[in-house]
């Protein structure tokens, strides 16, 4: 295999770090709960990219299996998260997280 033709793993790690920072910015800045969920998904995928790139670098498949688990957990997270958003929208008529302050958060 022509190793020189492969993309260095560092490039993937930097891309993952950029996506993670972008997602973190989105989670903090957006007030729409659905847009926050989108940003959380972006962060999860950034970590997945890092796992897969590391899996190739180390020559092990463990990173890919962990990314597989992350996808399964993300599915559960989105399901419950969307149910909460629907419930909040039904009770308050808004999906603005700044208005759901009953716990004084």
């Amino acid at each position: 295999m022509a190793g020189a033709a492969l993309m260095p793993t560092t490039a993937y790690l930097l891309l993952g770090a950029f996506l993670f920072a972008l997602g973190a910015y989105g989670v903090v800045v957006r007030t729409n709960a659905l847009a926050m969920l989108v940003a959380v998904e972006l962060m999860l995928n950034a970590v997945n990219l890092t796992f897969v790139a590391a899996a190739r670098q180390f020559g092990e498949l463990d990173g890919q299996v962990i990314a597989f688990f992350v996808i399964a957990v993300a599915a559960a997270e989105v399901g419950v998260g969307l149910a909460i958003v629907i419930d909040v929208a039904r009770r308050r008529g808004t999906v603005d997280v700044d208005e759901a302050t009953d716990l004084r958060g």
Binding site: A21, L61, A75, I84, G93
Partner: protein, 182 residues
């Protein structure tokens, strides 16, 4: 993925899919309309699946498209359309005072991560085991031996999430339908 390496195609894949990934991710975070955000994120997920192919993870690329870009994003888009957020609930795109601080903190986070990545020592041998011909079989071997317990726990987690989601989203008969915004 030998043929990819010989063609030097992985660099081309990374350049194209990575560029699409960055642009669509920025679009997903910065656009006001949640539907635009969700569809942009779907494009990001597809480009990540292509990157996984380039990294020699075809099974994960398939799962990414089927589960993530398929099931999860369909659910998200479905709820966005159900709530019709942009017209029912007009919201500012950002918290004005917090925006600048958040941008600076995120930039600092990326800077710290980039420094850590730059200083870190990766093993120098890019091993060839991930390019096994029976890739799905290799992943399955790992999934059902070393990771069997997490695999089973994941199934319980998904069941719990399913029940929780149904319980949360079920309409209670005593509630009014879609109250006006307070």
């Amino acid at each position: 993925m030998d043929w990819l390496a010989q063609l030097g195609a992985e660099r081309a894949i990374f350049a194209v899919a990575g560029a699409i990934c960055v642009v669509s991710a920025a679009n997903a975070v910065l656009r006001r309309d949640p539907l635009t955000s969700a569809l942009s994120l779907t494009l990001t997920l597809f480009s990540l699946a292509i990157l996984y192919l380039g990294l020699g993870a075809p099974f994960l690329a398939g799962v990414q498209v089927a589960v993530y870009a398929g099931a999860i994003m369909v659910l998200l888009v479905f709820v966005i359309m159900l709530l019709g957020t942009e017209h029912r609930f007009p919201l500012p795109v950002t918290r004005p005072r917090l925006g600048l601080v958040a941008a600076l903190v995120s930039a600092a986070l990326f800077g710290v991560l980039a420094i850590a990545i730059g200083r870190g020592q990766l093993p120098t041998n890019v091993a060839t085991t991930t390019e096994a011909t029976d890739h799905v079989g290799a992943v399955a071997d790992l999934l059902f031996t070393r990771y069997l317990l997490p695999f089973e726990i994941t199934s319980v987690l998904l069941l719990a999430a399913l029940i929780g989601a149904v319980s949360l989203a079920r309409r209670r008969s005593s509630e009014r339908e879609w109250p006006e915004r307070r």
